[in-house]
């Protein structure tokens, strides 16, 4: 029963993460959303590890942590440049590149 519950938690994390990405206006929250998604992946991996009694689950989690951390570091660095160059840290400031819909 515990694994089912763990999966429910993972699903919950997944939905909240996705909601954060598409609903929030401030860019920080987008990144938080991505972190939540990664955490959901970790929970599922561990559930898998628990089910198959093998260490691969934990290895997966370790790698996921490292890679999500690396990605986040770069994205935050870019966020600072965006704040510096485009003068804002919300989703609406990132609209220079778009399809010029004429009418």
């Amino acid at each position: 029963m515990t694994l089912e519950l763990a999966l429910v938690i993972a699903a919950l994390l997944f939905v909240i993460g996705m909601a954060l990405i598409i609903l929030r206006r401030n860019l920080i929250f987008l990144l938080l959303g991505i972190e939540l998604l990664f955490n959901a992946a970790m929970v599922i991996a561990l559930a898998g590890g628990a089910r198959w009694h093998s260490v691969t689950g934990q290895v997966l989690v370790v790698f996921m942590m490292v890679l999500s951390g690396a990605a986040l570091a770069l994205t935050l660095a870019l966020l600072l440049r965006v704040k510096q160059e485009l003068g804002g840290d919300t989703v609406d400031d990132l609209r220079q590149l778009r399809e010029e819909v004429d009418e």
Binding site: I22, V91, L94, E99, V101
Partner: protein
């Protein structure tokens, strides 16, 4: 003699080619003389053929294979038999006379080289048409003469109505040509050959009634258009816009008779279908009456002669219709002589009255031009078929007489007889108005020998040529019918008292006509003449009806097709629709491209959701 046949059409065509290539380097006079010698040389060759094979000509010459694909073969082959010999003699001899006549008639006018080019080409085309041994070559000649008539009628192209008259002639005759082409296709589809002999043999072996009926009708339509029979006759009166020599050659002697020649040549096709001959006869008789009735109310000298040609051609068709093609051919020969003469005479008259065609402003020309008056009178006699002394008494009255005794021919006889009366009326009305009565002097015009010889020869011919075939029961030479019998068979001859009654009826009709004509000329001078009958003057309004119905429909249809289907349908709806469809589609998709990251992310999530739904639906 066989291998010289190609010279007959060859000379005029050579003349045309030389004129085309080197025309610009010679003066019009030299071109005229060169052009005249060409038909003369053909006449010589024809004369040689008469001399050597006059008895029963049956010459063949295959010049080269024109088209041969699979089991179908049509080649440039000439064949001369009795009928063809008569036709080529007319075409070459009368052609030569016309060339001679136009040396003086046309000099000093613009486009003379062009005139001689097309005249030569016309004579060549006519000769090919008549000498062809298969329908395809006939069609070639058929179209060439059509082209030349277009070019010559529109000779004085600087006036819009002349150009329009030429185009009208070509289009109406082209309607007939299309019908003829369809007939050729039917015969080709049925019998895989277009050569006369093999065609008639195959037809005799396997007569397919349906195909032959349709083919027969289509050939008839072709002939009617070419020979300006009712209802496709509207182009002939308008084509009087061309020079009179052109009218003399084309619209009297040669081209318009091509239709009759075609019916004579394809006689077996009509004979194979019961009742078809009667249809031809009826159309001939009716046209004769109709055209004659219009002729009496005309005021333009050339229009009178135009309607008279239509009516005389009606008689020739009547001749073929009553199973007497040799009589039809006989009248064709006679008509060629006197009608060419009348047209040339009319040309001189117009010159004298300085291009004024209205006969009511003319009169008393006999004192000023005695020679012209006597030759013109000979022509008028032949036209009206004055008994005994005129040639067409022997040919036209014979046709009318034979019509009486043919089964179901009574109606045709009545129409023909009435036609004969009207013919006499308009013939002599024309003569009295132009030559008799108070004198209205025109400019003095001295006819050179180049004009006098043709008029003289044709005047003698229109009197004397009738004696080739005396009516039955009369003493005197009867060589025409027996000569043509082996090819066209002997026509039925009335006998005993019926014969006498018919001959008397024919002569009485002509004399009544002359009397009425005398009175008509007087009324005309007093201003109350026949020309005020609008119904007849406008040829029963057929021309106007025809022009108000067909061309507008044709152009409107083209306009609709262009606007509605091309611009509207294809460009606007099909291509425009596609373009707008894509535009809408891309505008809708561009909404997903407005730069917002969250929108891109939601697009991705939507994709994931769709994939998961597919998985849930199909893959599990």
């Amino acid at each position: 003699m066989n291998e010289w046949l190609f010279l007959i059409p060859g000379f005029p065509l050579l003349g045309a080619l030389l004129n085309g290539i080197f025309g610009e380097h010679f003066s019009p006079r030299q071109i005229g003389r060169m052009a005249a010698t060409m038909p003369f040389l053909s006449t010589l060759v024809v004369f040689a053929v008469w001399m050597t094979h006059g008895r029963d000509p049956n010459l063949h010459e295959q010049v080269w294979t024109w088209i041969s694909v699979g089991n179908f073969q049509a080649n440039i082959g000439f064949h001369v038999d009795q009928v063809t010999l008569v036709m080529i003699s007319i075409a070459s001899f009368v052609g030569f006379l016309i060339h001679l006549f136009s040396q003086q008639y046309l000099n000093g006018d613009y486009g003379e080289r062009r005139y001689y080019f097309y005249l030569n080409l016309f004579v060549g085309g006519m000769l090919i048409l008549t000498m062809a041994d298969n329908l395809l070559l006939l069609y070639l000649g058929w179209e060439t003469v059509g082209l030349c008539s277009y070019a010559l009628v529109a000779h004085w192209y600087r006036k819009q109505e002349n150009a329009w008259a030429g185009r009208k002639a070509f289009v109406v005759t082209r309607i007939g040509d299309t019908a003829l082409a369809l007939a050729i296709f039917i015969l080709f589809a049925e019998y895989h050959t277009l050569n006369y002999h093999t065609l008639f043999a195959a037809m005799a072996a396997r007569p397919d009634q349906l195909a032959l009926t349709i083919a027969g009708i289509l050939v008839l339509i072709g002939a009617i258009a070419k020979s300006a029979q009712f209802p496709l006759h509207i182009w002939l009166p308008d084509s009087m816009a061309g020079p009179s020599t052109v009218s003399a050659l084309i619209h009297a002697a040669t081209m318009v008779t091509a239709g009759v020649y075609l019916c004579i040549r394809l006689y077996p096709v009509f004979a194979a279908v019961p009742g078809m001959l009667w249809v031809i006869g009826l159309s001939g008789a009716f046209t004769a009456l109709y055209a004659a009735s219009c002729g009496i109310a005309q005021v333009d000298i050339k229009r009178v002669l135009a309607y008279s040609t239509i009516s005389q051609l009606g008689y020739m068709f009547l001749g073929v219709g009553i199973a007497a093609p040799s009589l039809g051919l006989f009248h064709l020969l006679v008509h060629a002589c006197f009608k060419a003469l009348l047209f040339m005479g009319a040309g001189v008259v117009i010159l004298i009255y300085s291009d004024n065609h209205d006969i009511r402003q003319m009169g008393g020309l006999k004192k000023q031009q005695p020679f012209l008056r006597w030759t013109f009178l000979a022509g008028i006699f032949a036209l009206a078929a004055v008994p005994v002394i005129s040639a067409s008494f022997y040919s036209k009255d014979a046709i009318i007489a034979t019509a009486f005794i043919v089964p179901g021919g009574k109606l045709l006889w009545v129409l023909a007889l009435l036609g004969a009366v009207f013919t006499a009326i308009y013939a002599f009305r024309l003569y009295f108005l132009v030559f008799e009565g108070p004198e209205k002097p025109g400019e003095p015009y001295q006819m050179g020998w180049g004009m006098k010889i043709p008029l003289g020869i044709l005047a003698v011919a229109s009197i004397g040529i009738g004696w080739l075939q005396f009516p039955p029961g009369w003493p005197g030479p009867k060589i025409w019918l027996p000569w043509l019998a082996p090819e066209l068979g002997m026509p039925p001859a009335p006998s005993g008292d019926v014969n006498i009654f018919l001959q008397v009826a024919g002569s009485v009709a002509t004399l009544i006509g002359i009397a009425i004509a005398y009175k008509a000329a007087q009324w005309e001078r007093e201003g109350r003449g026949l020309s005020r009958i609008a119904f007849l003057f406008n040829a029963w309004f057929f021309d106007r009806i025809f022009l108000r119905i067909f061309p507008p429909i044709w152009y409107a249809f083209a306009h609709i097709l262009d606007r509605l289907i091309e611009q509207g349908g294809f460009q606007l709806m099909l291509l425009g629709g596609l373009r707008d469809g894509f535009g809408l589609g891309s505008r809708a998709l561009e909404a997903g491209e407005n730069g917002l990251i969250s929108r891109y992310a939601s697009g991705m999530i939507l994709g994931l959701v769709v994939l998961l739904f597919i998985a849930w639906g199909y893959l599990l």
